[in-house]
């Protein structure tokens, strides 16, 4: 179980970005973390995978627990070794290197079983096998996303954190990515899925969290969220009414305040 | 508008200052230098007397008996020196500005030891005609071969000492010279720049001992002529090149080489086939080798440091120039060259390297050397080196000047400075030929240089071939101007 408890994160000693959020990812489940831009989703992921230092951020309160052990003071490298691996937003593949080299980098902490893991990744993404020797920068967007996920899998993580894997991809590719996430999860890896594409995320997730300005404002099983009227209206764009008026937005804001 | 007004004000302030300064300049700029004695001087006499007033005044009469009516000034007291073994003697305080740190520390420290030990021997022998000489720690300055530190050090001690026992570094000393002239501060200097013989450069205050780099180079050239005339077949005429540091050392030596070469024009000696100025910290041995190799000279005059010498000789030999003869001077050589790193070069050094210097090494057999070695051992001064020898030798001429001033009954700074021109023969106890300060530079300059060859068995790695060799060019040269002008 990977847990975030009452986490507070401050950037540059002054900017309070997370104001005490809590969430948990049970083993082998898919958890979706939804929210608008600037809500703090990426910061949450950074905190979990130990990347706050790079961005001059600090955990000021709360803790992150992996099987009950606090990990929020550990280095990023250590956290990867403990089995939490992240695929960053925007894919961030090493464009100058070959596909295979990208994957080899992913195996940095888990060098011994590299061959097995690579086999697994190639099995998940047969396309990558075909292009193993080609330069990663020349792959298409979807292929690059697959490479990013594949690279994160090379450390054989117990928990995979995915930051907006569907970003900028064609609908068909989103479907493909979605299926792959399900497949990864089926093989036993817990997934924390940060998405703007709430529909896609909630369709595969077991549980969903919704963030607004540094706080969790809703925390329900995915099915319930899909049925929630506000969520349908503001995240899925599936309003019952044809007309959306500003007043309704206000209504939502009121409601949100109440929720928090 | 507002800013402009402010600027006007600023300019106004500047102008006003200029005018004020100029106004008071009118009165005193003309006549201050010569007639007004700086108050620092008079003040100093009282301050140096102050600490010694504790000495029992009843014992003063014998002191005045020993030196009945002598005029004293800055840095001289009738009270004995601190911790003096001769309580009846007065005391002459000397200053030292040397390098105990920085690039020349390895030279400056033994040099100062040589001076300290020399004066201690004088004191131990009963002093100097009723006076002891003291070099106190307060009057000993470490300048670290830095002009600013040298000057600050001079300012620190200028009011306390009658003369300097050392002022290391030609250029540093030149920087301080205006103040020294102001103070009539006499000083021996451990650099052998040809300009020190001329009063318009040093104000007659710098006491030189031994020949200068320029005449030394002429002797070097004369020696080469002599050596090559006995070769079979005769090695004359020959081509030569010069590799040297710039400035008072290399520049002066190079000037001497060229003067000597011009004197042999009739036997077919021409201009140097190559001249490489090796700027420390900038030039590389590779450049020097590249400059010399294509012209393949028969003789190479080297005035660098030991590392450059080894690099040059090794580099040229390795690249195929294997018959050249090398002539260097004191600082070019270091016994460590015979050591581990370049051991392979030893045969080459023994065969091809010769050097000139102002005095014989540590081992020479003269009364002066004898006394020096005794002092060296008594004070446990470590490994024998030329710095100590130089410090010791340089002190004889200040001794002679102070003696002359005492004979003149005038130990004021002006009196000491005036005494310089009256010293007819400095006795170096055989370490150098006697030296006169009376007469023109052409008459008084020391013309002889010692010629050495490399001898790996000797402690300093050298053996004397010709003591105080005076070649025909050096003997005939009319020494009427410095060979090298150190600008301004």
């Amino acid at each position: 179980m990977l847990e975030v408890r009452n986490l507070e994160v401050v950037y540059s000693d002054v900017i309070l970005v997370l104001r005490g959020i809590s969430l948990s990812i049970p083993d082998g489940s898919i958890v979706a973390l939804l929210g608008a831009n600037g809500a703090g989703k990426t910061t949450t992921l950074r905190a979990v995978s130990g990347l706050l230092d790079v961005h001059n951020g600090n955990v000021t309160k709360g803790e992150i627990l992996l099987d009950g052990e606090p990990i929020h003071r550990k280095s990023a490298a250590k956290i990867v070794r403990l089995g939490v691996s992240q695929a960053l937003e925007g894919r961030r593949i090493l464009a100058e290197m070959s596909v295979e080299e990208n994957l080899r980098l992913g195996a940095h902490t888990n060098h011994r079983s590299m061959d097995a893991n690579m086999e697994r990744v190639y099995h998940l993404f047969p396309l990558l096998r075909d292009r193993a020797k080609s330069t990663a920068g020349y792959l298409s967007g979807g292929e690059q996303q697959m490479l990013a996920i594949g690279r994160a899998l090379m450390s054989a993580p117990r928990y995979l954190l995915l930051d907006e894997p569907s970003l900028g991809l064609a609908p068909l590719l989103v479907q493909q990515i979605r299926d792959i996430i399900v497949e990864i999860n089926r093989q036993g890896t817990g997934v924390l899925l940060v998405e703007q594409n709430a529909m896609m995320a909630l369709s595969i997730a077991d549980h969903g969290f919704i963030m607004e300005i540094g706080k969790i404002v809703m925390d329900k099983p995915a099915g319930e969220l899909l049925d929630d009227e506000d969520v349908r209206e503001f995240y899925l764009g599936l309003s019952g009414d044809e007309v959306q008026s500003f007043a309704q937005v206000k209504h939502y804001r009121r409601k949100k305040r109440w929720l928090s | 508008m507002k800013t402009r007004r402010r600027w006007v004000a600023v300019v106004g302030v500047m102008m006003a200052f200029t005018l004020v300064v100029a106004a008071c300049g009118d009165d005193d700029a003309v006549d201050t230098t010569a007639t007004t004695t700086p108050p620092a001087t008079t003040e100093a006499v009282t301050t140096t007397e102050a600490p010694t007033t504790e000495a029992p005044t009843t014992e003063a009469p014998p002191t005045t008996e020993a030196v009945p009516d002598i005029a004293i000034g800055r840095g001289v007291t009738l009270e004995p020196c601190p911790d003096s073994a001769n309580p009846d003697n007065g005391c002459i305080y000397l200053g030292v500005i040397s390098d105990f740190s920085g690039p020349f520390a390895a030279f400056g420290l033994p040099l100062t030891w040589g001076k300290e030990d020399f004066w201690e021997r004088v004191n131990a022998g009963g002093g100097l005609m009723g006076f002891d000489v003291a070099i106190t720690p307060e009057n000993t300055i470490d300048a670290g071969y830095d002009g600013a530190a040298h000057l600050a050090g001079y300012e620190e001690i200028r009011g306390n000492v009658a003369a300097l026992a050392e002022s290391l570094g030609t250029l540093q000393t030149l920087g301080a010279l205006p103040l020294m002239i102001e103070d009539s501060m006499v000083s021996p200097v451990s650099s052998w720049y040809s300009g020190w013989s001329f009063d318009d450069i040093d104000g007659g205050l710098i006491l030189e001992a031994g020949t200068n780099y320029c005449l030394e180079a002429m002797n070097g050239f004369d020696f080469v002529m002599q050596a090559r005339s006995t070769m079979d077949p005769v090695g004359i005429p020959f081509t030569y090149a010069i590799v040297g540091f710039p400035g008072d050392y290399g520049g002066d030596y190079a000037a001497g080489v060229k003067i000597a070469a011009a004197a042999y024009a009739d036997v077919g000696i021409g201009d140097p086939v190559a001249e490489f100025v090796y700027t420390p910290g900038v030039s590389t041995v590779e450049e020097a080798v590249a400059a010399i190799l294509p012209v393949a000279p028969d003789v190479i005059f080297v005035t660098t440091g030991p590392n450059e010498l080894a690099g040059l000789m090794g580099g040229l030999f390795g690249a195929g120039l294997q018959s050249a003869m090398y002539v260097g001077t004191g600082p070019t050589w270091h016994p460590a060259l015979l050591g581990a790193a370049d051991g392979a070069l030893v045969p080459l050094f023994e065969q091809a390297y010769f050097q000139t210097s102002q005095n014989a090494g540590f081992q020479d057999d003269t009364p002066g050397h004898q006394a020096m070695r005794e002092a060296f051992e008594a004070h446990e001064r470590g490994i024998p080196n030329l710095g100590y020898v130089a410090g010791w030798v340089m002190s004889y001429n200040l001794l002679a000047v102070l003696e002359q001033a005492i004979i003149n009954k005038d130990l004021t700074p002006e009196g000491i400075a005036a005494a310089v021109g009256q010293v007819e023969a400095v006795d170096y106890e055989g370490m150098l030929p006697d030296k006169s300060f009376v007469g023109t530079p052409d008459q008084t300059v020391e013309r002889g240089a010692v010629v050495h060859r490399v001898d790996a068995t000797s402690p300093d790695g050298l053996a004397v071939i010709a003591p105080f060799f005076v070649g025909p060019t050096a003997a005939a040269y009319e020494f009427n101007a410095p060979c090298l002008v150190l600008g301004g």
Partner: protein
Amino acid sequence: MSTLLQAVLNGLALAAVYALIALGFVIIYKSMQVLSFAQPALMLFGGYFVVYFSSRLGLNFYLAVLLAIMVAGLSGLVIERSFLRPMVGKPVFAVAIMTIGIDLVVRIITGNLFGVESGGIGATGDPWGLGLFIGDPAFGATFHWGDVVLNQRRFAAIVAALLVIGILLAFFRYSRIGLAMRATAFDQEVALTQGVSVSSVFALSWAIAAALATVAALFISPNTGTIDVNMFAFALKALPVVVIGGMDSIGGALLAALIVGLAESLTITYQPVYAGFLGGSFSQVVPYLVMFVVLLVRPYGLFGTREVERV
């Protein structure tokens, strides 16, 4: 013709030394965007230990070099840990100037270790043992082709540089840690997410740079085989080499080393004859002049990445 050939050969040897030092700069710059002015001092420092182990302790030359590389590498590591680590995230200039401070301190300490004498690289004239195979035993191996001469130190410089650079490139290409270093250079955050300890990579890059500088120290004076503190200015000339290449390009640094080495060597050979008015030791400013020209044409060096900045 033989003069030209000789100049080119000497230039190649010079280029080899520049390349070794410049690679150190580039590796540090690539991994942590820090320009290290401390390389010259580290070169002297490593060089001192070669002298110490080989000449003063009399160990086998190759063993001495290996030990010196280890000592230098370790000190590079220590310097990174103690001085550079607190500066992570500070402006590049602040860090660059701090390395000047490090350079001063290391240089004085090295000067103090050397003492007043310079040190010999290897106890004999031919530490490489090349004399056993070829040439003239008096001064070690010297290759003669007609008038063209290549002394053993220059020969060794070229061979060693090719060897070391080859090993280094293979290390970056094939090893796990090399790959991690490249990844760190390309995208630090990505490297972190893959479990690369970026701080170890920083430390390692300083260690490698110091080791490279030590190898360069072996060849710094091909004629004497000695090294002393004044040779600092020589190592500083690797800075223009790095700039010409473009600071973050290994290939660029190698090419620039070649350009500068040859330009300097040709200047040494021909400038005194054909352009004496330019003054003595003109070759020593040639690297800087080449740098000026290159920067005027290409403000980010020959292969440098153009900075793209978001406002």
